[in-house]
Symmetry: C3
Subunit: 369 residues, 3 copies
């Protein structure tokens, strides 16, 4: 375990799996450099244990479930959901020190969340808000992909959507995104980037939706309201409306979103939570939710696969970027105007890390002139 | 070559190959971190040379055999069975220093053995006893597999057969093995674990044998007498007999095996010698020998493939264990009662290593309460 | 970039690609540990830029060409052929420091050459002479292969052709090469090995040529005049003539090649330039040129594929040798008589490196008695 220099706080809830991934079998997954075995007890509650037997370190995930306990696949030691050894082969007395680490785990918004840090601090109220993922007023579906990069590169990617113009030109990107102004704001744990685009050609993805749902084929007003919640969750309010029908609130990027009239538009939410696997890899959980045409399964399927293809384009860029960073270990990065949102996200992350580990080195960032 | 911190003695005979693997061609194999080229001279005697030409280090195994000499595949230098260079291209005079290292080699019990340490100490009488492998009173067959783990993990595995219950439940393991008591004893170079199991259900492998050979389908007495000979050979006397027919000697695990009456049983020997390839990989040579129905080739074939499948289950566990050890370099291991045999084996190995290299670090072992 | 200890000078022209490899798309290639993106401007001139965007390090080769500029595939920054950033997304002002490194590049003898060192020293007159590769009096064709070894091992290989006897016995090697005497001479930037072989059996490759071109099947005089030009180009004048017809100049290896009468022979040039990719890998560019039967495309094809097969034999040897060197980092090499040519080549290379980096460690070479 090399967590001392890691670029993430440990005292946070991290999505470890989609709810359906964890059941009555043993799932091995690494979260924040910690190898875990995940399973559900007979009452359905999720359990997360260190994935290494106390005796000879064999991954417990190579064993089997017996009731609420894991049986090691080498010498048959039993461990309960608290990680305590309850049976050893060929001996009556059990060493009281015999246990593996157990991690706080809970289920919310269709994810199993685990807390890699101090269990005493694991407040369920701190799970980030991704309620759209199971709200009956929304239809949502998504995937998890493993990306071979520092999870913060995914955050950077999501906090600046000008990259859509260059990476995703065939689907959601067009010149308008890179050209439109935006506003970046921030709070104690959140950073927000707001970009309203007025009277533009819709990109293919949205143009197709608006035609299908509203029979509308003209210019649109488009919005992207990106909200980061430290350390690793990003929800994006996205959509388009018929141009000039009041979707853009008075004041535009500076205005009050509550004054937006979206009655002539369609709205989606891109839900993202990116869990560090190691310092240089992550599990990227995402879903796309819409609040219209909820029961059309074809649409849900099409969105899931469409977004999946778009994120595949990001994956290629992000992994290449990680390799380049590894080859330039001392590189000092300069920020452009477009990096304002990710810069705030990074500062919030750095603050959480510094609070836990005061001597944690933080990559210096300079701003381009 | 990184032998200084290696977890094995150099002054020992190690099986380098099955007899049939070495012939009139060049075989490359690494033994104890030493790359070797093996071949037979025209008189059949096995030769083991350092596998790197004196001139430009090209592996000699990429060259060819000419009479009793190896010809390098790059510039044609010749080396004889003692490793001395006998020909250089385009020059008359041969540098007297031009030679590669030659290792003591001999053939016994169907293996080619080599001695990686001081040739002056290479006493043929020290080859471990594996005579069942070519004794006409036994029918034996086996294989060699490469396992990506420290050879001592294989020794640990063989010295405690309670793992059969958990790793090999479909063939040779059942609950009886993990529950039966055992006795561990040791000598200067050997350690023995004896486990007699009385009046039990036979596991599938042995039940099938006893039915086929004796027409017997009831409960059995079963035995496992595991004998380790330092540094890396383990022979296991295994078998079952009709329950209560005198196979278990008076005194059971403490009794005298010579007083066992196996006339209503069947006996096998599991022969194992595990040669370090590197610090973290090994060549696992094994054979299974029986002393009944010797000429039934179908049975020999079936045993070889059956045991091969069982050892494949071990291989998965052992390689996972090695990876886990690599990830926890400072882990301190605790021993259970079942580890008594392997603990003695490790001590004998550590003793041999310490004698050769007094400053060799030895992994500390603590015993669980 | 780890060039400080690299075994090659930076102030030299290195072949980066065959002319046909570089066009109106982006080619990624690493030269002397430097990742480059290569392309042609609209006027056909080759450009070589550092392959990492100034902003977030994404390889520019993952972007696209727009006119004479590269557009980064992540955020759309533009860089011109001098490496200067000419456009940034969402901002008017461009940071004047925003640029990537540009390398001197030119096209000559069918290769694109780049100069990784000080641009002020990049004198076009220093491109090595490989004119046979596009001279209408010669028919030439070749390939580029990546070899996983220090480029100097390829130089060693070419400077001593006795290896033909052992590595290429089925094509160009026979006993005569290893047995024939040779002479090695050197200048400031060049080293030459001359070997005339009188009245010998031709090896298959040349025997076949002489029969086809001249209807001659007897003994031959054969020559190999190997010329190294520092740091990494080797041209070899090769051929055979009917024995005793005056091809061998008076004085043989010591004689004046200008006095050779090759009218009863056939001549080829093996052109080689070996560009370091990293310290332990290289791009090996080669071509074979002949000055007879120029328009016979079948012959060009056959030579290219024949030589390609021969060099594949070298590749196996060279990569095995590199692995062996990596396993013996402190090995001290001894030289044989046959190493005279490569020893001079190495000294010339070491001299160039030492001039650039006075403290560069140089591998000591001792000569065998």
């Amino acid at each position: 375990m090399k967590t001392s220099n890691s670029p993430f706080p440990l005292n946070a809830w991290y999505a470890a799996a989609y709810d359906v991934e964890v059941g009555r079998s043993l799932l091995a997954r690494t979260i924040c450099n910690q190898k875990l075995v995940l399973y559900r007890q007979e009452n359905g509650a999720a359990v997360a244990l260190e994935d290494a037997c106390w005796h000879r370190l064999l991954p417990l995930s190579m064993g089997r479930l017996e009731g609420d306990e894991v049986v090691c696949g080498y010498h048959g030691l039993h461990f309960n959901g608290q990680g305590r050894c309850t049976h050893m082969p060929s001996q009556e007395t059990i060493n009281p020190a015999a246990c593996v680490r157990s991690f706080p785990a809970l289920e919310k918004h269709r994810f199993i969340w685990i807390w890699p840090g101090d269990p005493a601090l694991a407040d369920p109220a701190l799970v980030p808000d991704l309620h759209w993922n199971h709200d009956p007023a929304w239809a949502a579906d998504g995937k998890v992909i493993r990306v071979a990069c520092d999870y913060r590169l995914v955050i950077d990617n999501l906090m600046d959507l000008t990259h859509e113009t260059f990476v995703h030109s065939s689907s959601i990107g067009n010149r308008a995104v890179a050209e439109a102004p935006f506003v970046a704001t921030h709070g104690d744990r959140t950073a927000t980037v707001t970009r309203w685009m007025s009277n533009i050609e819709p990109p293919p993805f949205w143009g197709n939706q608006l035609r299908a749902e509203r029979g509308y084929t003209g210019l649109v007003d488009r919005w992207q309201i990106i909200r980061f919640e430290a350390p690793c969750t990003v929800t994006i309010d996205v959509g388009v409306a018929e141009a000039g029908t009041g979707a853009i609130p008075p004041g535009g990027n500076q205005g009050d979103p509550a004054l937006s009239d979206r009655s002539k538009g369609i709205t989606g939410r891109v839900l993202n939570t990116i869990t560090p696997e190691t310092d240089k890899s992550c599990h990227y959980f995402w879903a796309f939710a819409r609040n219209y045409n909820l029961t059309e399964q074809r649409l849900t399927h099409q969105f899931r696969e469409g977004v999946s293809g778009i994120f595949r384009e990001d994956e290629l860029v992000l992994e290449a970027q990680q390799r380049a960073i590894d080859e330039h270990p001392d590189h000092e990065f300069y920020n452009l105007n477009i990096d304002a949102g990710s810069m705030w996200a990074r500062r919030l992350i750095d603050g959480l890390v510094a609070k836990e580990r005061p001597n944690q080195g933080v990559i210096p960032i300079r701003r381009a002139a």
